[in-house]
């Protein structure tokens, strides 16, 4: 279980004159939780967007399971099993939670005829079990846009699990969530990783969360890779501390 799932090699991306990512290289190992930290504007979300095909990259290569994906489009990459959640939570706000879950079934091998299929009882049970897993079972028939922000975030997480991804890119999963809920969320992220075998790659600002969660952490600053290592190494790395305190 130590295969490299995502291999990012010297990826650069700039917007006009602003260099968001400069020759970033990192790898995400199968079955593990990898973290990505860095001050605001250090290029974390840009890197996520590059990996999932949201915009073309200027240079470098991105491989998923050994296959080059930097030329593929967003839905094609998603169907390979590489899924992301959004920093600003995105759900289907006019549909109820169960429908949000059902439409998130994997579309990996969807043929044209599958457009007109119904859902099996298994799929519905799975949707309800996952809603229970994130604590939304009671509210499953409510319109998702009426839920609180934290609950929407949990719903988005459950939708991602419904899709059975191989790797899940989470963009600040705990932002805007109250401290009690955060503990529950960390627990659920770990269980998703251990029990469902989903590799996680997490952007996080909350140091307590990421140090608890990740086994390996990368730190970006000013669009460049500053440091990487296990949580202890990162915590004691003077460059990382300086970056966060604004010495750069």
């Amino acid at each position: 279980m130590s295969q490299t799932l995502i291999a990012v090699d010297k990826v650069s991306k700039s917007f006009g004159g602003v260099i968001a990512n400069h020759e970033i290289s990192l790898s995400v190992t199968e079955g593990r939780i990898t973290g990505l930290i860095g001050p605001n504007g250090s290029g974390k979300t840009t890197l996520f967007n590059s990996i999932v095909g949201y915009h073309p990259i200027d240079g470098g290569s991105i491989k998923f399971e050994g296959k080059e994906i930097s030329e593929l489009r967003v839905p094609q990459i998603a169907r390979l099993g590489l899924l992301r959640t959004f920093q600003q939570t995105r759900i289907y706000s006019k549909m109820d939670c169960v429908r949000n879950m059902l439409i998130s079934v994997p579309h990996r091998n969807a043929s044209f005829g599958d457009l007109f299929k119904g859902y099996s009882g298994e799929q519905k049970d799975k949707a309800e079990n996952l809603l229970e897993f994130v604590g939304l079972y009671q509210k499953r028939h409510l319109i998702s846009g009426d839920l609180s922000f934290g609950q929407q975030k949990l719903l988005e997480f459950a939708m991602a699990l419904m899709n059975e991804p191989k790797v899940l890119l989470l963009d600040e999963p705990t932002a805007g969530i109250n401290p009690t809920l955060i503990n529950g969320l960390i627990d659920r992220l770990k269980r998703a990783n251990e029990e469902f075998g989903i590799t996680l790659f997490v952007i996080e600002h909350n140091m307590r969360v990421i140090m608890n969660l990740a086994e390996h952490i990368y730190c970006l600053a000013h669009g460049e890779m500053l440091a990487d290592g296990n949580p202890d190494e990162i915590q004691n790395d003077q460059r990382v501390v300086d970056a966060y305190l604004g010495a750069h």
């Binding site: 899924l83 109820d96 119904g118 049970d125 028939h141 469902f196």
Partner: protein
């Protein structure tokens, strides 16, 4: 389906299919719970109307056409959130395709149209219906092809740009048809003459439009209960999210528009034969009347719902006919007032307003049970 099952703890989520309670159960999302007597009453009205109110046969035939307009517009406009202002294009295109087929089967189209109505096709019942059926079928197929081709281009546009882009298609089709001499240009085409009494003709087209409206409704009722229904709703709510989740968005958008084109093309073919004369401005591509009506009717009844377009079209048509009869001169004011009230007070339409007023009747409820355990009898989402 046993009732003594226990909830498999998370961790076995992936291999739940083995659990007995779910085996073979099919779930229809957005299942239609309309009581059977509603359909019975509608059927009785539809079948009885031409006998009970023979003088109103054509008006009620128009009602079925209005329902067709609203239903087909709502597929992309309501359910998928792509507000097309150019759906009338398929109505006119279907009309012209059927005209060309119906005339081309029996004579030379160019010679026929250049006679400017000096030549009329007079046929017996057999030839007439043979042409009508073939023409309508060709209109359906032709409009689907057009929708798939044009969809590739216009579905790159979003929001207001999509609305304007589709409006552009309808307007340019209207100009093209007006200058294309082979199909009669601005002078139009006289359709084959119906070989029977006028009342018989109005009943025939009444039946044709009602049948088509009923088929459209039945088809959409089924379609919205499949994955397709949820997928187009997802595109409506957040298309970028839908893409990020791997949904084939373009495929769904094209199919949605092609379904609308299929039924609109056929209704255009039938309507062309009903009026007996096809010309681009008022009959085939009436952008500011029928083209806007279809949007207004769907909004009035509640876009993105199965019954909303039907209710909206009925209300709109009744108000329109009543004001035309009793408030002549004020009819546009009355219609305008209806639209203003709709947009200001009932933005979500009648069905949407009802859903907000009585959410529990639409299944939007909190379930007090904490878990999925031991409730095999529970059934699907309403």
């Amino acid at each position: 389906m046993t009732s003594d099952n226990t909830l498999p703890r998370s961790g076995t989520l992936a291999d739940q299919g083995a659990g007995g309670r779910a085996a073979g159960r099919r779930i229809a999302v957005n299942a239609d719970n309309t009581p059977w007597y509603v359909y019975l009453l509608l059927a009785v009205f539809a079948v009885g109307a031409p006998f009970v109110f023979p003088a109103y046969t054509t008006q009620i035939a128009f009602l079925w056409l209005m329902i067709l307009f609203a239903l087909t517009w709502d597929i992309a406009g309501g359910q998928m959130g792509y507000n097309s202002l150019g759906n009338i294009f398929f109505f006119g295109a279907g009309m012209y395709i059927s005209a060309i087929v119906q005339i081309g089967l029996f004579t030379d189209v160019g010679a026929y149209t250049s006679a400017r109505g000096g030549e009329q096709l007079v046929q017996d019942h057999g030839d007439y219906f043979y042409g009508l059926v073939l023409g309508t079928a060709a209109a359906a197929v032709g409009c689907v092809v057009l929708a798939l081709l044009l969809g590739r281009i216009v579905f790159g546009l979003r929001g207001p740009y999509f609305a304007i882009g589709t409006l552009g298609i309808a307007l340019s089709a209207r100009e093209l048809a007006g200058t294309w001499a082979w199909i009669g240009g601005g002078s139009g085409i006289a359709m084959p003459v119906y070989p029977g009494q006028p009342h018989e003709k109005s009943v025939v087209f009444y039946i044709a439009l009602f049948t088509l409206a009923a088929l459209t409704f039945a088809f959409l009722r089924w379609l919205y209960a499949t994955r397709f229904g949820l997928a187009v709703n997802a595109i409506r709510d957040d298309e970028e999210k839908a893409e990020a989740m791997g949904i084939h968005t373009l495929r769904h958008k094209q199919v949605a528009w092609a379904v609308a084109a299929f039924f609109l093309g056929m209704s255009g073919a039938i309507f062309g034969n009903m009026t007996g004369f096809v010309e681009p401005l008022e009959v085939a591509f009436p952008t500011v009347t029928f083209g806007i009506f279809m949007v207004v009717m769907a909004l009035l009844g509640g876009k993105g719902t199965l019954w909303g377009p039907v209710i909206g079209a009925t209300l709109f048509h009744v108000v329109k006919e009543v004001t035309w009869t009793y408030l002549l001169g004020w009819q546009w004011v009355a219609l305008g007032l209806l639209i203003v009230v709709n947009v200001v007070f009932f933005q979500e339409g009648i069905m949407g307003w009802m859903q907000r007023r009585w959410p529990e009747r639409f299944g939007i409820t909190v379930d007090e049970r904490l878990s999925t355990g031991g409730d095999a009898g529970r059934e699907g989402t309403p």
